[in-house]
């Protein structure tokens, strides 16, 4: 044991200072949601919509409608677009309070994000119950990473808890398979109020690749009331941290109208 203690001490601190200024988010090179530039979009071209596996892009008169809540970040549209109207970006931090903010809009306007007073008491101590409702284990892999020494989620006062009775936030991954629907609802029912729900990963937001087939649902919509959406496939640990901080009003919501501001 002494061996490990000495090794641990000698190794020094591995934890990043992020999200404090100057800290390393650890996401060097990670691609995020493709950026839509309607000015470059060619009339009558439907390449991006044709290749999108989850119908995140739909044709409209004079352009396309983009729903980042359905985007699985596969980058196929950025390869298919002949006009650079869909380009790769590093916009991976896509947490929002209102589902509407995941839809691309010309104005980039949204329902004003208000500080929620009922959350004030939880700002420095949030307990999270995770429920896997049929994920591909990508979200779990990144959620588990939150407690590695690099991100060290505990330092922000956020903890995963075993029992829904002790949890303030239900964090759900996966498209909600038919078999997980009842266990998921039971976990929610077991939580004390006030209680909130976070949809992590595009599957939990809208169903993802297997949405609505014979075994899968279409995410949390219509199953549980959602307070926080974070699409991504999977969202990386820094994106999850930023969304949680935003939920607790410790960071601003940067995504409005399907775009990152500031």
């Amino acid at each position: 044991m002494a061996l490990w203690t000495l090794f641990g001490l000698a190794s020094g601190k591995a934890t990043t200072a992020w999200p404090r200024a100057g800290g390393d988010s650890g996401q060097d090179g990670v691609l995020g949601m493709p950026r839509y530039n309607p000015a470059a979009c060619r009339e009558g071209c439907a390449e991006c919509a044709a290749v999108c596996p989850t119908h995140a892009i739909e044709l409209l008169e004079g352009g396309v409608a983009v729903d980042y809540g359905r985007c699985v970040v596969c980058q196929l549209c950025t390869e298919a677009c002949p006009a650079n109207a869909m380009t790769p970006s590093e916009d991976w931090a896509f947490g929002v309070r209102d589902r509407q903010d995941l839809l691309w809009s010309e104005t980039g306007a949204s329902s004003p994000a208000q500080a929620a007073s009922d959350r004030k008491a939880f700002r420095r101590s949030l307990h999270i119950r995770h429920v896997d409702a049929g994920s591909c284990n990508g979200c779990e892999s990144e959620l588990q990473a939150l407690n590695n020494p690099f991100y060290n989620l505990h330092r922000l006062g956020m903890f995963f808890t075993a029992s829904p009775r002790f949890a303030d936030l239900l964090l759900v991954t996966g498209p909600v398979t038919h078999a997980m629907r009842e266990p998921l609802k039971a976990a929610y029912e077991a939580m004390a109020e006030p209680r909130w729900v976070m949809a992590v990963g595009t599957c939990a937001v809208s169903g993802g690749i297997s949405a609505g087939n014979y075994a899968s649902g279409t995410g949390l919509e219509g199953v549980l009331p959602v307070d926080l959406y974070l699409p991504g496939c999977p969202p990386n640990p820094a994106a999850i941290m930023e969304a949680l901080l935003m939920f607790l009003d410790r960071a601003p919501q940067r995504v409005r109208g399907g775009r990152i501001h500031g």
Partner: protein, 482 residues
């Protein structure tokens, strides 16, 4: 099927063929059904020792077949899946209840997988015997599955996992899709095996299309596959240390995993997914000098880490003799990957059925006879070391060149692809329809095989060892449930 030698069999020839295969030391690897032109067809994919080519047995036009589970117990689950999803019947099946879905055939939409797929629990009516159902939502950040323990004190008498709560019907997501783009679906079957799944899928499509992949693309595929193995095994070691309550060992394993994932992201733009597409790579990437240096730094940290684990008695004491999987059970139940190699089964698809750029690379296949949790840990430790060697070799021989060719399988083409993923063998059988789009894709994942073998190591063990034993198998549930 390209990649296999096909044999058409009548139902009554199935069992003799299986007996012959078993006598020759071969194994039916997996089986599936589909219905081209409305006529049901069952396929069995078999491998024969020392033969690179697989055999594919085709049984056409019968909805009721004799079960092969008595010859190859591991095939029992594939047959049950076909009963659930394809509405077939297998006579004399030893476990004829649903596996994947509640009701086979009818009412699929409302079916609740696994909910009534509860295999009969033994009726134990004795004082002091307790029954503990655990799951499907488990403590900590874990995948969903339910386990029932029947135990006295610390001693587990019987253990029954109920899986398939996470069944997403992933195989149907391929149907009707474009074969070039459906690689993104293959990546999402099991995220921690994204590269293995994408590679097996691409190999299958490429065999169906009979196209030759540029050397650079084949080499980069090996690099990505080995980097996936590295981060998976590092996670494994961290998680195993967690179960033996070696806190710093856990932190270090997971920190190294994080570093490996960050290298993936810098190289490919994604921490978990791949860059593969049928025909090669979706785009070229530039490993430059930095990757070789970064991998070497990681290897040095890994070596120090392993030395420490190997000198931690409290860790080793919990692993040695824990969760014993005998070679016979491993073979019969179809165990694969590091789990099989820790039980004396010397098999590695990279060596036995070379693909991508593995032919000619300095491959080592560490194999141990002990079959305990410690052997499973040592196999993985040795594999990480071997993966670092492979990565450096690839970086040395990487020449500039094209990374993608046109790859479009003809209508009605079919192909088999395989890879040795971090957890074992992944197979994809791909059938193209008359319209040139995918008609049927069968996914065989390693965890589907290893979940069958695992319960055999739990019976007659004790509660305190359970978490260690489960971690030592390194199972995923998404891959199994699909």
């Amino acid at each position: 099927m390209i990649g296999t030698q096909a044999r058409t069999l009548a139902p009554d020839e199935l069992q003799p063929a299986a007996q012959d295969l078993l006598a020759a030391g071969g194994r039916v690897r997996f089986a599936y059904a589909w219905s081209p032109d409305g006529v049901v067809e069952v396929r069995y994919i078999a491998s024969i020792p020392d033969r690179r080519v697989f055999e594919s047995w085709v049984v056409k036009g019968f909805r009721e077949l004799p079960s092969l589970a008595a010859v190859f117990p591991s095939i029992g689950w594939y047959e049950r899946e076909m009963m659930d999803v394809n509405g077939l019947r297998f006579t004399d099946h030893p476990e004829p209840y649903p596996l994947v879905l509640k009701d086979s055939g009818e009412e699929l939409v409302n079916a609740i997988p696994a909910a009534t797929g509860r295999p009969r629990l033994p009726k134990i009516d004795a004082v002091d015997v307790q029954q503990l159902p655990f799951g499907p939502i488990r403590a900590d950040v874990l995948e969903s599955a339910e386990f029932t323990f029947v135990y006295v004190g610390e001693h587990i008498i019987h253990y029954q996992p109920r899986l398939f709560f996470k069944h997403r019907g992933m195989e149907t997501c391929f149907e009707g899709a474009d074969s070039g783009r459906a690689v993104v679906t293959a990546e999402r079957v099991s995220a921690v095996g994204s590269v293995a799944h994408a590679l097996a899928y691409c190999e299958a499509v490429e065999r169906a299309a009979d196209c030759a992949i540029p050397t650079r693309a084949r080499a980069v595929r090996v690099l990505l596959a080995e980097m996936e193995r590295i981060y998976n095994h590092l996670h494994y070691l961290g998680h195993l240390s967690h179960t033996t309550t070696l806190k710093v060992g856990e932190a270090q394993g997971k920190l190294l995993e994080e570093k490996a994932k960050q290298l993936n992201a810098r190289l490919t733009g994604s921490r978990l997914r791949s860059l593969l597409a049928p025909g090669g790579l979706r785009r070229d990437l530039d490993p430059g000098r930095w990757l070789g240096d970064a991998l070497e730094d990681l290897r040095e940290e890994f070596t120090t880490y392993v030395e420490k684990l190997e000198n931690s008695e409290s860790h080793l004491d919990r692993l040695i003799t824990t969760g014993l999987l005998t070679q016979k059970v491993a073979f019969d139940q179809g165990a694969t990957g590091p789990v099989a190699r820790a039980s004396g089964i010397d098999r590695d698809l990279r060596r036995d059925h070379p693909y991508a750029h593995y032919d000619g690379l300095p491959l080592t296949t560490p194999t141990f006879e002990d079959g305990d949790a410690y052997a499973r840990e040592r196999v993985r430790m040795a594999e990480v070391e071997a993966s670092f060697v492979l990565c450096q070799r690839i970086l040395l021989l990487l020449e500039p060149g094209p990374v993608r060719v046109e790859c479009k399988p003809a209508p009605l083409a079919e192909g088999l692809g395989w890879t040795e993923g971090p957890r074992g063998s992944v197979y994809y059988a791909v059938h193209v329809g008359g319209d040139g789009r995918l008609a049927r894709v069968k996914v065989k994942s390693p965890s589907f095989s290893n979940w069958r073998a695992f319960p055999f190591t739990v019976h007659d063990s004790n509660m305190m060892d359970y978490a260690i034993n489960e971690a030592s198998f390194g199972l995923t549930i998404a891959g199994c449930d699909r």
